[in-house]
């Protein structure tokens, strides 16, 4: 009798929990669908091949986003070219050579945590002063990319460090017992094994960089012409959207279309990354 009552109570509790969990999940999904739906509804009509390749006209109300895409790509390229080697090096140093008790390691880790929490506008102001004025780069893709690199470094280093730490000690022992030097152990054994973590870091970093406006406003500027070199100012996609939506009356349609392009790009990068990561994980192998 008592048992039956208890069983009933458990069933009701389970049911209640299930309802709460599902409602929360549905709520999150609904918000996402709402945003995406609104975006698609407003902007999908504007996305076409010519939109992707043409230059903006009439302050962006008409025309496309060709130069903007090129600038975005260049800014990202500069950002990754600088942050990847530095990030990997720092992560390897933290994970493999600076033990937890080490003062230097603790200092670097603490600085990174602080940096990761700094608002992007602060990075923007810093980049505007340091890269544009002190180093004399002016408003340029180079200055924007470097500023972004500073911004994504903490994320990149932390994920890559986790990647290195997740490599089991057996591999380090195997490498040492075979007389591999520390450098070869790092580059040929640990780095490939740490790849999934590194990729996650790159994706998070690229995602943050692509979505960035504040840090670029004062560094790469918003000239929407096709950039001739890395020293030209160039408008990134997110700044283009911001500009169209906030400052240009009648720019809403193209802002929506550009936002769709940005979302698709981010999604594509995410998918590609998870594909590569699962490839690494599944095969557990870096082909010869």
């Amino acid at each position: 009798m008592v048992d039956a009552l208890r069983a009933r109570r458990h069933r009701i509790e389970d049911l209640a929990a299930a309802v709460v969990v599902w409602a929360a999940a549905l709520g999150v999904t609904a918000v996402f669908v709402w945003i995406l739906g609104g975006l698609l509804w407003r902007g999908l009509g504007g996305v076409s091949w010519s939109f992707l390749v043409q230059a903006p006209r009439d302050a962006g109300r008409a025309g496309g986003i060709g130069p903007v895409l090129v600038s975005t790509g260049l800014i990202l390229a500069v950002c990754l070219a600088v942050s990847l080697p530095i990030g990997l090096g720092a992560a390897a140093l933290l994970a493999e050579f600076a033990s937890d008790r080490h003062l230097f390691g603790r200092l670097v880790r603490r600085s990174l945590d602080v940096l990761a929490g700094v608002p992007s506008i602060v990075f923007g102001l810093f980049g505007g002063v340091f890269f544009c004025q002190v180093l004399g780069m002016g408003f340029s893709i180079m200055a924007g990319g470097l500023t972004l690199a500073c911004m994504v470094l903490p994320i990149l280093i932390r994920s890559a460090e986790v990647g290195f730490r997740s490599v089991p000690d057996e591999h380090r022992h195997a490498a040492a017992a075979l007389g591999l030097s520390r450098a070869s152990t790092l580059f040929k054994v640990l780095l490939p094994a740490a790849m999934p973590g590194v990729i996650v870091g790159v994706v998070l970093g690229v995602g943050r960089a692509m979505a960035e406006t504040a840090a670029l406003l004062f560094t790469s500027g918003y000239v929407d012409r096709m950039p001739g070199s890395l020293w030209d100012s160039g408008r990134s996609l997110s700044i283009h959207i911001y500009h169209l939506a906030m400052n240009i009356s009648g720019g809403d349609a193209n802002a929506g279309a550009s936002a769709i392009v940005l979302m698709v790009l981010l999604l594509a990068i995410n998918l590609a990354a998870s594909f590569i990561a699962s490839h690494f994980l599944q095969r557990g192998v870096v082909s010869v």
Binding site: H173, A174, G179, G284
Partner: protein, 274 residues
């Protein structure tokens, strides 16, 4: 005595009439973890080409002793080695010793097979490249030779590009042995090489150890006393004395098992203890 051993002995006699000096000689070798002494004052001579089994209950310092022979103890935070390990006359505990070269000559096999997460071929080629074996053809030759040595060639020759993690545990362990052999070490330290394997796979590895005798000097830690009797020329028994591991007995395997000198050994080998 089997035929191989007889042949080896005569060959040995031809080369040198006197017994050769031991290849490895440890003097007062102690291993400490922080303030704790895990192994104390081990004096052990090991003849070139012999198979030596190290037995003893859990925690008596067999692995610690083995790790100190090729300075793998350097990798363990807080671990300190005192005393001397002379291998071929040089003390490998000296700070100036090049551990990369040392470990090339003194290889190691672990309890858990640990191939790198790469293809079977690259597992063997990576250390070869590292140690300056040039030329694709030359390396391919070595890969085939060592895989044949461990009896793995026919099983994997069609999938050298496949990930090593896809092999069975026994195959992985043999791959690890092949990888170590590729560097032509003089000494191979094996820490319970069969304990993660089923009886058949462990029999295969045991045969392999027997075939390597004479070519490589082998130190094998094992909990399997029958295995020690089958494979080893000499046997060392470790035991915890006064809170630290010590070598309580060492000699030809038959003597250790049939006429043990130490009381602990007598109880251990007759199964009364441990």
């Amino acid at each position: 005595m089997n035929r191989d051993a007889a042949l080896r002995l005569t060959a040995f006699d031809d080369v040198s009439p006197r017994p050769a000096p031991p290849l490895i000689r440890t003097c007062c070798l102690s291993v400490h973890y922080g303030a704790k002494t895990a192994v104390r004052d081990v004096e052990l001579d090991i003849a070139e080409g012999a198979v030596t089994a190290l037995i003893g209950p859990s925690g008596c310092g067999k692995s610690s002793f083995l790790y100190s022979l090729n300075r793998m103890t350097d990798l363990i935070p807080g671990c300190r080695v005192t005393g001397a390990v002379r291998i071929d006359g040089t003390d490998v505990c000296e700070p100036g010793v090049d551990t990369v070269l040392l470990r090339r000559r003194v290889g190691m096999i672990f309890q858990k097979p640990n191939p790198f997460p790469m293809s079977i071929r690259r597992n063997i080629e990576l250390p070869l490249k590292e140690h300056g074996v040039r030329g694709r053809a030359r390396r391919a030759e070595v890969v085939e030779t060592v895989l044949r040595d461990v009896g793995l060639w026919d099983e994997v020759k069609d999938r050298l590009h496949a990930p090593a993690q896809g092999l069975s545990g026994g195959q992985q362990q043999r791959l690890c042995i092949a990888r170590a052999l590729a560097l032509e070490p003089r000494v191979l330290l094996m820490d319970e090489p069969c304990s993660a394997l089923d009886p058949i796979a462990s029999g295969v590895v045991e045969d392999l150890i027997r075939r390597l005798r004479g070519r490589v000097t082998l130190l094998v830690v094992t909990h399997n006393l029958a295995q020690a009797r089958r494979i080893a020329d000499a046997t060392g028994v470790f035991w915890v004395r006064d809170g630290a591991g010590a070598l309580v007995e060492h000699g030809p395997t038959d003597a250790v098992f049939e006429r043990p000198a130490a009381e602990e050994t007598r109880r251990y080998v007759t199964g009364l203890h441990g």
